[in-house]
């Protein structure tokens, strides 16, 4: 009897811990969701219970966001930047990751770690010289400046991830192809790349989310509203004067957050094995 009681106590303690973590992590997003669909009258009435709707939910904020702000432009800008950065990253990181996993031996390991360490050089150290370089190139205040700069962190990161994945592809596959008359390059293109499609897809998704998450460079290089990314636009451009329009702000934040959240959950396991596969063994 007392054992059953102790069991119940332990189980409810566990459930409470789970609940604590879920509320801690997800409450700000719940709050975003509620705010995005509340009428202004409901939102700014202190006597209302804030955690649920007093007035019926409204789509007014979302409509305002798409009709009266540059929100769609920002979505488009982020998509353009994402696609271009993914292309540049793949062209550089796929061969580099393969080469570091296979071809250059001991020096390859040192070079791999070297490339990876550049991922740790922070934007706040580089933004001053980079902003001068971008001014010299005439790219200031243009989204192309971000297309140029974002690969500086996506290439190291993705090279490292891909290196881990390529190490897991057995060398015998290429050797068999070479014996069958393929060149080294041919073996890579015809055998290794088709086998690595899932890994490459992971890299595509993560590059895209990294460009969506970036804030510091976008803030430094872009000041006109029409060139902003979705993250920068929502965070800095929906505040007019000193007045915050929380309904629109939260609606914009929600729409920007959803795709990244979904992508992360689909690819999380692969991502973890990539990081630890590269870092440990």
């Amino acid at each position: 009897m007392s054992r059953a009681l102790a069991n119940v106590a332990r189980e409810s303690g566990f459930a409470a811990t789970v609940a604590f973590f879920v509320i801690l992590a997800a409450f700000p997003f719940y709050w975003m969701l509620i705010t995005a669909f509340k009428t202004n009258a409901d939102l700014y009435d202190l006597s209302n219970m804030p955690l649920w709707f007093t007035d019926p939910p409204t789509f007014e904020h979302i409509r305002y966001l798409f009709e009266k702000t540059l929100f769609t432009q920002w979505l488009l800008n982020s998509a353009i930047i994402g696609v271009c950065v993914v292309a540049i990253t793949l062209v550089c990181a796929v061969p580099a990751g393969y080469s570091l996993a296979r071809m250059t031996g001991r020096n390859g390991e040192a070079l791999g770690i070297g490339i990876f360490l550049t991922y740790l050089v922070p934007p706040t150290l580089l933004f001053l010289p980079l902003s001068r370089i971008i001014t010299m190139l005439g790219l200031q205040d243009s989204l192309w400046s971000l297309v140029l700069v974002y690969p500086t962190f996506t290439i190291p990161f993705c090279t490292w991830l891909l290196m881990g994945f390529f190490k897991a592809v057995p060398r015998e596959i290429e050797e068999a192809a070479i014996v069958d008359g393929c060149s080294n390059l041919g073996a890579f293109v015809k055998m290794v790349i088709p086998l690595s499609v899932p890994a490459i897809l992971t890299v595509v998704i993560f590059t895209f989310t990294l460009t969506l998450q970036e804030f510091v460079y976008a803030l430094t290089f872009i000041s006109s509203a029409g060139e902003k990314t979705i993250t920068l636009g929502v965070a800095t451009d929906l505040v007019r004067g000193d007045i915050y329009f929380w309904g629109e702000l939260m609606a914009g934040a929600l729409i920007a957050a959803i795709p990244v959240a979904i992508a992360y959950n689909f690819f999380l396991d692969r991502f973890i094995s990539g990081i630890t596969g590269g870092a440990v063994k």
Binding site: A26, P28, P50, S99, L126, F127, P129, I133, I155
Partner: protein
């Protein structure tokens, strides 16, 4: 690329085919990545160092060498010293808080229970969602008038409506707020790192320890923790580097205020170097981060080499 491929298309012997080709191809394969990173990380880093010892501003593009004058000036500035202290406080506070939450969160997610996948998806959110976006939501939660946090505390009877604090308006509370938001953003990453480490510990090691009479805490802290230390340290250093150099949370939540109470190095570098256009002093402020980063990287390299699991 085409030229090399064609030249090597007719190998003299099988041996040369195998030996030479991979080396050339390998070098060719890494070069785009290396060149890109050298051009847009290596060169800017050197430029940043040069700016910090010159008199360069965007109004007066004077590259003349002034030695350590900029550094001496910033170290005599009270705002900068405050910023430096804040940066360490911000980094240390949020990393410790994030690690504690991460460790316990990992223990929770380790155990199978119905709905674990959904719980994991929700717990990962703070790390997945762009931090600038999430910070805006926190800003709304810390609002001086409509703060939902205050509402909940009052509704639970934990706080008197008359004492409802203005979270971002008070210097000490504002610091706590930026630390909490950063720890909140970091703890799912810590969970993921701990989980990756713990699941990599071979089950027979744990079983052997259990048979030998090691209890829960002993297994955790004397067997598992030392084994996963390399992964955890690498993860921790990641978190530390990105926290130490971050500006987005401070920029969006408090703008360094009230009265520089939450100003951090990244933010101050941005303020001076970009907004005021004083590039040389801005670069000097940013470069103060470099020695700390260097130490962290050296520690990390030692741990990467150790690789125990």
């Amino acid at each position: 690329m085409v030229a090399i491929t064609e030249k090597l298309a007719k190998p003299q012997s099988r041996l040369q085919f195998v030996l030479d080709r991979p080396r050339v191809l390998g070098a060719l394969f890494v070069s785009p990545a290396v060149l890109y990173v050298l051009a847009l990380v290596g060169i800017p880093l050197c430029l940043a160092i040069y700016y910090s010892v010159s008199a360069y501003t965007i109004y007066n593009q004077d590259y003349s060498f002034v030695g350590l004058r900029n550094f001496i000036q910033i170290f005599q500035d009270d705002v900068f010293l405050r910023t430096l202290w804040n940066t360490f406080l911000f980094t240390l506070g949020s990393q410790i808080l994030g690690l504690i939450l991460g460790k316990f969160g990992a223990l929770v997610l380790l155990r199978p229970f119905p709905g674990r996948k959904l719980v994991r998806a929700l717990i990962i959110l703070p790390w997945a969602v762009p931090i600038a976006i999430a910070t805006v939501a926190w800003e709304w939660m810390f609002d001086s008038l409509y703060s939902v946090i205050n509402w909940i505390l009052i509704a639970l009877g934990l706080m008197n409506p008359a004492d409802a604090p203005n979270w971002l308006g008070d210097p000490h509370l504002a610091m706590i707020c930026v630390i909490v938001v950063n720890a909140w953003r970091f703890f799912p990453f810590a969970i993921v790192i701990f989980l990756a480490g713990i699941t990599a510990v071979p089950q027979d090691v744990i079983d052997a320890a259990t048979v030998d009479g090691a209890g829960f805490w002993r297994r955790n802290y004397q067997i598992i923790l030392p084994m996963i230390a390399p992964i955890v340290v690498v993860g921790l250093i990641f978190g530390t580097v990105f926290t130490f150099t971050d500006l987005s949370i401070v920029y969006l939540l408090t703008m360094g205020g009230p009265v520089n109470a939450t100003s951090v190095l990244g933010f101050e570098g941005f303020q001076v170097g970009i907004l005021s256009g004083d590039v040389s002093h801005g670069a000097a402020i940013s470069l103060v981060m470099l020695p700390v980063l260097f130490i962290l990287v050296v520690v990390m390299l030692r741990f990467i080499r150790r690789r125990e699991i």
